[in-house]
Symmetry: C2
Subunit: 146 residues, 2 copies
DNA sequence: TTCATTGCAAAGCGTTTGCAGTCAC
DNA sequence: GTGACTGCAAACGCTTTGCAATGAA
């Protein structure tokens, strides 16, 4: 699946969600989602806003805040609270599920995957009789100076 | 070990940390730490501030912000960013290590322990050649309506 | 037509900062 | 004595809100 197919598929996820929830399919929402899916890695609202304005679109920060809330609710975007003061976001569709390591000295962030987190999730779901929709796992540490 | 012993032990952890880092042992720091260890569960700065003032101590919010930073650095307090807008804190000594489940509909928070998180931690430490000092794992979900 | 959504600017509010005064060492 | 720490209030900055205008359905 190439980049254009992916964009189309993502757009469809949004359309389906908006339809189901009787929300309007405004052009702003599609522009914002499109730009988010151009960004690799983590970003903050200001970066996204600047990027959209640079591309000649005029829309307000308020709309970005609104829209990103929608995207989080339909699973297209994830919000992270690392140890920065404001939250960072990242697209979360078609990407491999991953967790984060935060280096407490440099602020650098790395990603990793471990299947055992799924097993823990399953256990917790059984024990508490709940449905887990999402998780976040952060390790905080420093590089060994070997 | 009874409650008084625990308080004394915690105080010693702080004293050792302050000595090692050439920080001053101000009365405010001890008052704040003491109050934190009276609180069961999660709390925010405002709650802590009110509690301390109610007990007749006069100290400022700024000092609480400062002190809590110190406590986090010496492992006596943990800071959580759930899906509330401001962070919540909790004491983290003598307490069993635990992770959190956040109910996205009600906002309720539950705690659980799973030893496999330790195993993941060990693996990640080996693979990345790092020392992990801390972690946080949050599951977001809803109760099954059975 | 209707009302959800947008845009702008103002307001909100938890946190940080500046600085004078204090006190741990 | 001295400089780290405190207290107060002002400043900060990200986010939310109010409200009139817009446009999706």
């Amino acid at each position: 699946m190439d980049s254009i197919d992916k964009k189309a598929a993502i757009k469809n996820v949004l359309i389906r969600y908006l339809d189901e929830h009787r929300h309007r399919k405004t052009p702003e929402r599609f522009v914002i989602l499109d730009k988010i899916y151009d960004i690799e890695g983590h970003f903050d609202i200001e970066y996204l806003y600047t990027k959209i304005r640079e591309d000649g679109h005029t829309l307000s920060r308020a709309t970005i805040y609104n829209s990103i809330e929608v995207f989080i609710n339909c699973g297209l975007v994830q919000k992270h609270q690392f140890n920065t003061k404001q939250p960072l976001y990242e697209k979360s569709y078609f990407g491999k599920q991953h967790d984060h390591i935060i280096f407490t000295d440099t602020g650098e962030i790395k990603e990793f995957c471990d299947p055992r987190i799924q097993q823990i999730k399953n256990t917790v779901e059984d024990i508490f009789d709940i449905k887990i929709e999402n998780h976040s796992l952060y390790f905080y540490g420093v590089k060994k100076n070997t």
